[in-house]
């Protein structure tokens, strides 16, 4: 699998894209502050995201009863799940300790 040419190509594209990200971070971070035009376009883009994308919808979570209930349910099961996992983990460790000792 690793030796297939198309897969090598995928690996190369991914490696290049990560290098692109790193260099774009450095470029953006070190370049001089944004011009008026850039800031304007960024703000416009943000407004567009508010209106035409999921960002705007996520601002309405508070008024959405279904999602609100979902969040409450999810946070309600978090603590019991953590307790179960702690107990299970300790149990597994105990069993393994006994097995190693015996």
């Amino acid at each position: 699998m690793m030796q297939k040419p198309w897969f090598k190509l995928v690996i190369w594209i991914l490696a290049t894209s990560f290098f692109f990200m790193a260099s774009s971070i450095i470029i953006s971070h070190l370049s001089p502050g944004p011009t008026e035009h850039q800031s304007m376009r960024y703000m416009e883009g943000m407004m567009g995201a508010m209106h035409n994308s999921l960002m705007g919808l996520s601002m309405t979570i508070e008024e959405d009863f279904d999602l609100k209930r979902l969040i409450i349910n999810a946070s309600a099961i978090t603590i019991p799940l953590i307790c179960i996992s702690i107990i299970l983990g300790l149990y597994i460790r105990l069993i393994r300790g006994k097995r190693n000792a015996g």
Binding site: M1, Q3, L14, S24, S28, P34, M46, A49, I71
Partner: protein, 163 residues
């Protein structure tokens, strides 16, 4: 194709999803970064959120597999897996957890708790830089994968990949 392993598939799926997540996320970091996707924040946001769900699902699957292996007492090291108990796998595990938790805070509290959101955004953003640097390091360590297959080297590399 028949000896392609599950952890191998997860590894590369994860890589693709993470690369797209970083690209779309970087475009939203600030006005200086907008040029990456030509200031199209709406699409960036859309891609980022859809892929975030995929990312969380992949994480869930990997954690579930590790939990099952933990219960079974299976100590065999999965070389291609994204999470594990040591080295870069552990690093990926911890950073992924932080990414997901801060991301959910940003997602859910956008409407209610602005202080938490700005704090989570700060961590989410700074962690991205650290993780990108670490990915470059990961590429450096594993960069024999970049070698184009030659007839003489193919056997050697495939043996190493299976190690």
């Amino acid at each position: 194709m028949k000896n392609v392993r599950f952890d191998f598939i997860i590894h590369w799926l994860w890589t693709i999803v993470f690369a797209l997540l970083v690209l779309s996320g970087l475009a939203m970091v600030g006005a200086k970064y907008g040029w990456i996707l030509n200031y199209d924040i709406a699409s960036a946001d859309y891609i980022h959120r859809l892929l975030a769900a995929v990312y969380v699902m992949l994480t869930f699957i990997s954690v579930a597999i590790e939990v099952i292996r933990g219960i079974k007492g299976d100590d065999k090291k999965l070389t291609w897996f994204i999470i594990g108990k040591s080295g870069y796998q552990l690093f990926t595990f911890i950073t992924t957890l932080i990414f997901i938790i801060t991301g959910v805070i940003i997602w859910v509290c956008m409407d209610s708790n602005i202080a938490a959101v700005s704090f989570a955004l700060y961590i989410h953003e700074k962690l991205t830089y650290i993780v990108i640097a670490s990915v470059i390091w990961h590429i450096y360590v594993k960069c024999h994968a970049l070698l184009w297959p030659k007839k003489t080297e193919a056997k050697k590399n495939s043996m190493e990949a299976g190690k």
